[in-house]
């Protein structure tokens, strides 16, 4: 059996409310909150980045597992805010996790789905008997004044994938990808550009729906076979609508829907939703996870919770505890700390 042995999340403590950003942008907060279905977002401190957040989440992951860090063969981190353009985030994180030197590593980038791509690589390596750390972290970029500023947030979700004491079996994974230019950032540019409403139907909805349908068709399942569904969450509206279109209920998506309270953590968004579900899931329950990365592609996973989850959930710092531990900042504090 191959799957998730352990997991860990990290969300910075700072939050900014939509009202604060709307005030700075001269916009109507009520309209923004209604259209994006988001009330506040997380932002990092000045000394936090993708590497530091991945380390914090990774330390929770490994401290809750019996596997020695030196028995881990690879590390893959997906992000669109790797601290360096050239020099891997993975080696910094592996060093801080005490993985020794006998591991392979490469950083992944596929907009908001680099993290699920990392899990897929880990899944196939785990089938060959290796333990792999994989996950995502992002300090999402947004230009001051852009609509993205309301949602672009920070967070990390890391996983240990292997064959031993699996808590969440990855039964299958499929992907749906195409060349769709809906959101991009060129080298040397600080902030991403996007194609406005084109990020909706031909991009997010087409890919998420196609990947989820492909997974269910391949495995002979229907939405009611799943206890939880987690979708990439760039705002509150998109995942709610895609769930409805696919035939999932509000109840199935509510526990993994974090965007309304922490914003869009980009490559960590769907994976933090998965962490929140793993924190509370019971043996025998089934999860459908589907990410989305602009450019564009979706990875969909069929996950089955095992008996090992009961022991794994004990004394673990939960995603919910990070969501609740928050300090509000004003727009100036946000600019000083999070806008680089």
């Amino acid at each position: 059996m191959v799957g998730i042995i352990s997991w860990g999340s990290y969300i910075p403590r700072y939050r900014i409310k939509v009202e604060e950003i709307a005030k700075a942008q001269g916009a109507d907060a009520v309209v923004i909150k209604e259209s994006l279905m988001i009330s506040e977002k997380s932002f990092p401190d000045i000394d936090e980045d993708t590497a530091t957040m991945a380390v914090e989440a990774g330390r929770i992951t490994l401290s809750s597992s019996a596997i020695s860090p030196e028995d881990i063969s690879a590390i893959y981190i997906g992000s669109e805010s790797h601290p360096y353009a050239v020099k891997p985030t993975g080696t910094i994180v592996a060093q801080a996790l005490g993985m020794g030197n006998g591991y392979t590593c490469a950083d992944l980038q596929f907009a908001c789905k680099g993290g699920t791509a990392a899990i897929q690589v880990a899944y196939y390596m785990a089938k060959a008997g290796l333990n792999v750390v994989a996950g995502a972290a992002d300090t999402a970029q947004s230009a001051p004044g852009d609509i993205l500023e309301y949602t672009a947030a920070a967070g990390a979700a890391m996983f240990l994938v292997g064959k031993e004491k699996v808590c969440a079996e990855i039964k299958d994974t499929v992907s749906f990808s195409s060349d769709t230019p809906d959101f991009w950032r060129k080298p040397q540019k600080k902030y991403p550009s996007h194609a406005g409403s084109f990020t909706g139907e031909p991009s997010y909805f087409r890919h998420v729906m196609s990947a989820a349908k492909m997974l269910m068709k391949k495995n002979g399942t229907v939405p009611k076979d799943y206890d939880y569904a987690v979708f990439h969450q760039p705002n509150g509206k998109f995942p709610s609508r895609v769930a409805k279109k696919l035939g999932f209920t509000e109840k199935q998506i509510s526990d993994g829907m974090l965007v309304t309270r922490i914003g869009n953590t980009y490559s960590a968004a769907s994976l933090l939703g998965l962490c929140a579900v793993l924190d509370i899931a019971k043996p025998g329950q089934r999860i459908l996870l589907t990410s989305y990365g602009s450019g564009a592609g979706s990875d969909s996973f069929d996950i089955l919770i095992t008996e090992n989850i009961i022991a794994a959930q004990k004394s673990r710092k939960t995603t919910q505890s990070f969501i609740e531990d928050k300090v509000y900042g004003d727009y100036l504090k946000y600019l000083k700390r999070a806008v680089r």
């Binding site: 000394d47 530091t52 914090e56 330390r59 601290p83 360096y84 801080a96 005490g98």
Partner: protein, 132 residues
């Protein structure tokens, strides 16, 4: 700070790796070549990263350093932290308000950016502490 020095300090800064005297069992941070008991037989020891505030100060006017840019906003908190295993060290306390600070307060290690050598330079990562 020179690159080789940043590189040499990675274990110490990332994971609070110090030394343990095989003779008198005293633990040191930062790591030492010779124990205060005179013994040269030391081994690496990784501290758990838990401790308490011995004393602290809030820095409101920071000195400028043209070479290394530290990742911190004024005001920031510097404290002497006594690790549970014995040694004390100086470190920044992050994400806390002044009202949360108190001598004797329990703290735990976090992994943060320390400084970078200008916009083009290498980033040095390492330990800071937060209220536990």
């Amino acid at each position: 700070m020179a690159i080789p020095r940043i590189w040499r300090q990675i274990e110490e800064k990332y994971n609070l790796v110090g030394t343990l005297c095989k003779d008198c069992k005293k633990k040191h941070f930062p790591p030492r070549e010779v124990c205060s008991c005179g013994c040269y037989d030391l081994e690496k020891y990784r501290f758990l990263g838990k401790g308490e505030i011995v004393t602290y100060t809030v820095i409101r006017i920071s000195s400028e350093d043209n070479e290394d840019t530290p990742f911190r906003n004024i005001p920031y908190v510097l404290a002497i932290v006594r690790l549970d295993e014995g040694p004390s060290l100086t470190a920044q306390i992050v994400q806390c308000s002044e009202s949360e600070l108190m001598i004797g307060k329990k703290v735990e290690m976090v992994f943060r950016k320390l400084l970078e050598k200008g916009e083009k330079g290498v980033i040095q990562y390492g330990y800071k502490f937060r209220i536990a």
